[in-house]
């Protein structure tokens, strides 16, 4: 769900090992390095041994001193702190901000209680996904949302265009892009106990998907109990001038157990949790129904429609989608995006969109799309890697059980 393509990023890093591509890759890096944006934590990353790489127009740490495997495992055992300030936080305000947002997303925004949120999808006229986003209803007149770094420009243009039309018909909505804030993600079993040291508010009363504006480490933060790892945890929007202090305080309070974690482990973690990466597992031509996000389409929205591409999506809900996102285990080399999926007789039935070695399960996991009817758990498949077929089978996701903090 969270922008840019890590796979391409890994490819470009590694490809420079091959002479044939060296010149082209060097040129690309030369052209873009100077233009890369830096988050408020850039120097902090470098000081902590972060290997900085270009990602969605930003210079971001792919890993620190720990290996990606160690880093991924540590998140589930202790905890991880991620700089996700490349993502775009946005507030929609005004008494019509809810009906306005509902024209663009599949969620039942009106039905959300103030202080709660949900994962949703921005759709296009054809029912495809423009982006996925976590939205929060702060009040009936204030929505806070976070969109992917890689989709920022297109999302903002899309929202702005529709906002102009909406306002010209008398709708009351305006936006504020939170470029003055930085987003940090604190994930893992130590996330809550560590953060509790830094705020007077009782975090045990803030459940998965809930939102609060509160004082953390002396500054006013937007806190959402959510994440992209499958673990319990938070995303903290902090004023940028306080971001480094907050990061330091979190690491210190955890006595070194919560570690800075880069995009490499973040990708392994989200894959283990069965979560989509926009640009890989979800794209313009994939609908939320095909992506397995039917649960995110509010009941009222299924009855009423009223969002872009609703006709296509409602029809898919009725007839069933022709393709479906599923998980895979496989033998041999890890499957990667664009690996073909064949049935046992060698007919192509789909394609992998994300895959890799799971550091926590110590085996290959992948997700991708197959034709409906061949999507059942346990179905045996062949996955082609560099032309050779390897055994695989379709499995349920998440691969690693999620540990979201929900009322018992």
């Amino acid at each position: 769900m969270r922008g840019g393509s890590l796979w391409q990023l890994g490819q470009s890093i590694t490809r420079r090992l091959a002479q044939s591509d060296k010149k082209a890759v060097s040129r690309r890096y030369f052209a873009s390095d100077a233009d890369l944006k830096k988050t408020a934590l850039y120097d902090f990353h470098v000081a902590h041994g972060g290997k900085m790489v270009p990602f969605a127009g930003w210079s971001m740490p792919i890993q620190y001193k720990d290996s990606i495997i160690d880093s991924t495992v540590n998140c589930r055992v202790n905890g991880s702190l991620f700089d996700v300030a490349h993502m775009c936080g946005l507030s929609l305000k005004g008494k019509d901000c809810v009906p306005f947002l509902e024209t663009l997303v599949v969620a039942d925004v009106a039905g959300l209680a103030p202080g709660t949120g949900s994962l949703t999808v921005f759709t296009n006229e054809k029912g495809g996904a423009i982006d996925d986003s976590v939205i929060t209803k702060v009040t009936d007149e204030h929505i806070y949302l976070v969109v992917n770094a890689g989709c920022r420009d297109k999302d903002l243009a899309h929202i702005e265009e529709h906002m102009k039309a909406f306002k010209s018909k008398g709708g009351d909505v305006s936006w504020h892009i939170h470029d003055e804030r930085s987003l940090l993600a604190l994930q893992g079993p130590l996330a809550a106990p560590v953060l509790q040291h830094l705020t007077k508010e009782d975090l045990s009363k803030l459940y998965f998907g809930q939102f609060q504006i509160l004082d953390i480490n002396g500054s006013t933060c937007f806190l959402t109990r959510t994440g992209y790892t499958g673990e319990d945890g938070f995303e903290i929007s902090v004023p940028s001038e306080n971001a480094v202090d907050l990061a330091k305080a979190i690491l210190e309070k955890s006595e070194g157990k919560v570690r800075l974690t880069g995009l490499g482990a973040r990708d392994s973690l989200r894959l283990e949790a069965g979560l989509c990466l926009y640009g890989n597992d979800m794209e313009q031509h994939i609908s939320p129904v095909e992506a397995g996000l039917t649960w995110a389409i509010g009941k009222r929205r299924r009855a009423e429609g009223g969002f872009l591409g609703a006709d296509v999506i409602l029809k898919q809900l009725q007839d069933g989608p022709t393709i479906r996102r599923v998980g895979f285990f496989s033998s041999g080399p890890p499957a990667r995006s664009h690996s073909e999926v064949h049935d046992e007789s060698g007919n192509k039935i789909g394609e992998i969109t994300s895959g890799g070695f799971s550091p926590n399960l110590k085996k290959n996991i992948a997700m991708g799309y197959v034709k409906s009817g061949q999507h059942k758990t346990g179905t045996k498949v062949k996955i082609l890697v560099r032309g050779k077929p390897y055994e695989g089978n379709i499995t349920k996701m998440p691969f690693v059980a999620t540990k979201y903090y929900k009322p018992s």
Binding site: Q11, T14, L17, K22
Partner: protein, 156 residues
């Protein structure tokens, strides 16, 4: 990582070789030849044994799978004969010399991490019988290769 660096500096002092101090330091062994696609090769008579360099494994990160060729297959200088998969990416392995594969490191099937922990010894990848002994002359020596890595890193 700590263990690996320890290993690196230990090997380095033992073999009296240079360890680059820029960022993540890489070990380059004196008696080997190097290809610009970051494979090392050790020539023993009419046979050559090779693998990927410390610099390469460091950039790749944790190796989780090594795709090995079949014994008896021929390989040509500069062409891909297999692949190394790490958590973050896939990289082709190019053959630094031409010849016929006489042995592959089966240990890597169970323990691909040997490529990280011991790139020049236990992590060797294949052994070939050379078809053109002169080809090795086109490869870099350790000094040239160290410089090559430094220059490449400086670009990024």
């Amino acid at each position: 990582m700590a263990a690996r660096l320890l290993w690196a500096s230990r090997v380095a002092s033992h073999l009296r070789i240079s360890v680059s101090q820029r960022g993540f330091s890489s070990v380059v062994l004196k008696d080997l030849k190097y290809a610009d696609s970051h494979e090392w090769v050790k020539i023993e008579g009419n046979k050559a044994i090779f693998g990927i360099t410390d610099h390469a494994q460091d950039h790749l990160g944790d190796v989780v799978y090594v795709e090995l060729p079949d014994v008896g297959r021929s390989v040509s200088q500069g062409e891909s004969f297999g692949a190394v998969e790490s958590v973050k990416a896939t990289s082709d392995i190019n053959s630094p010399v031409s010849g016929t594969v006489v042995e592959v490191n089966e240990e890597l099937t169970e323990s691909p991490g040997l490529v990280n922990s011991s790139p020049y010894e236990e992590g060797w990848i294949i052994k070939v019988e050379l078809s053109d002994a002169g080809e090795a002359q086109k490869l870099m020596d350790s000094e040239k290769y160290s410089k090559f890595c430094e220059e490449e890193d400086a670009k990024h």
